[in-house]
Symmetry: C2
Subunit: 321 residues, 2 copies
């Protein structure tokens, strides 16, 4: 059996292969080839913690994957990271446990970044360059890195906004250190009015991004809202968008960014689409340069399957060399 | 982080401590102190395989446990065991993964044996000695071992029946080799008519044990029926019993041994009870020496929590020595 530590996984992973694997997994999921039971959930209200178990299988894959991810939001106060996690890969032929990926949440961060980049690339205007990054956490960084990697010929200018100017500055500094053009804004409205792409990565429970701020032609990738009560975008903005795409219609309409407008009756399942259908060429992404497009990503088990499989393939190749 | 192999776990486990831990967990569950979401399930129909994820937390415990158990029923034809499994223990304070128990299904077999022994001891007549074991698999052996360990002063005589006389003989030989009084019967009806305790451990999908065969005062522990369609006992026998006890009312009435009689309207939730309430002294077990008592065990996550915690406690003690 294979057991890999976070640092071993970080050394093995190749962003291009991982991007391709995650994109293929979205396509398989939207084509109905994936079995993804509802996410299992355990709450620890006294510790402001929770545990999600995502698991599933893509038809024909030799492996199935179970991911256990814990988030304990008081951890930083005792010097621990909020997120923890482990991915387990089992043979879909025999049920034998084949690999334990002790990624400590790294692979979830990465596959979420890759999902955002896949969505942003599929839906933004080809000439879009000015990217507003809303939020200053680890996911803000991964959205930037993965988008750069996915569209290497575009000279993006990233501008970061956060509730804490200090954290926004720190995030920009880290990205600058990686050779990325990133600056900071303290004016959320002005930033949004000026952006061609907006990527939201906050745990906000009330709309941050107002409808009136958004110019025609803007693309928004919304990452933060992944549980009941979370919301980053004005529901009127969701309703106004010319194109609404999500990773999972079921999840997005239930507890993602589209759920508020859906429950209000302002949008319907019929006028939303899935990312796998867009990148698989079954559904049009951006119809018109002036459309506002929104991608809402709540996270799906096929991303975990894809990223775990990519790590294992890289490991096996490294052993075969 | 702690990673233990099956052989390390086998060397660490102490049956008495494990028995006490599982019994305490049943009591906690029936007192409403355990969070046990519904079992997560993934099917692999082409390979006659499935995967169950059981997970939960007992209020106040420092650890929560996720168990992933796979059963691929064609494995023996390629020389592999049917069952595989792994248990993961996480801190309920921080979500950090603390231990991986690579038990390959051993701990599930053991905690199931312990559950049976706890139920049989709680419900059988104190003078019962003649035990019929129905089935010849690994669980038949564990039921015998755990009952002997739970009631060391009783001189049980075990008689084994299986569809295969050869396998029944093999099971008896293994147990004889452990110093246990075990013989074989080829006559199921006669065995049941003569037994004071009957323990059923088969994957049968039709009733094996007929109502007419069972004498007043007999206790039956039914282990096999743990999924829709499985049934070992005549529904009329379930309805006739003076006392019906199960590990989880919700599971037993839905897909356990009590479900057929329940759906037929012959029994109700009100005239069944939970094992945790019996061993916790909240509910009477056997009311009258002439009662037929039935315990139906479908398996609950608190057993997994208890056994994993017992292993970890033993490991920590061994390191402290």
């Amino acid at each position: 059996m294979i057991i890999l530590s976070r640092s071993e996984i970080e050394a093995l992973i190749d962003l291009d292969s991982a991007h391709a694997a995650v994109q293929a997994a979205y396509i398989a999921a939207s084509a109905g080839l994936a079995t993804m039971p509802p996410v299992s959930y355990l709450a620890f209200p006294e510790k402001d913690g929770d545990c999600h178990i995502k698991y599933g299988h893509i038809a024909g894959d030799p492996t199935f994957v179970v991911k256990i991810a814990a988030g304990f939001y008081g951890n930083p106060s005792i010097g621990l990271p909020t997120s923890n996690g482990v991915m387990l890969a089992f043979s879909a032929q025999t049920g034998v446990l084949e690999a334990i990926l002790l990624d400590e949440g790294f692979l979830t961060d990465l596959r979420t970044g890759l999902g955002g980049a896949i969505a942003t690339r599929a839906l933004c205007r080809p000439d879009a360059r000015r990217v507003a990054i809303i939020g200053t956490g680890i996911q803000a960084r991964w959205q930037v890195r993965c988008l750069r990697q996915a569209m290497p010929e575009t000279r993006f200018a990233f501008t970061i906004w956060g509730r804490s100017q200090e954290k926004a500055r720190e995030t920009a500094n880290v990205l600058n250190g990686e050779g990325i053009d990133a600056s900071v804004s303290s004016d959320l409205e002005r930033l949004c009015r000026d952006a061609e792409i907006i990527i939201t990565t906050t745990p906000s429970r009330e709309p941050l991004i107002r409808n009136a701020w958004i110019q025609p032609g803007t693309h928004i990738t919304a990452i933060g809202a992944d549980a009941p009560g979370k919301q980053e975008l004005d529901a009127a903005l969701v309703a106004r968008a010319g194109r609404r795409i999500c990773d999972s219609l079921e999840q997005s309409l239930d507890h993602g960014e589209f759920s508020t407008a859906f429950r209000a009756g302002d949008i319907s399942a019929e006028n939303c689409g899935e990312l796998g259908a867009v990148v698989g060429g079954k559904v049009v992404g951006r119809g018109h340069p002036g459309d506002i497009t929104i991608a809402d990503l709540t996270g799906v088990a096929v991303q975990d399957i894809a990223i775990a499989t990519a790590v294992l393939n890289a490991y096996r190749r490294s052993r075969a060399d």
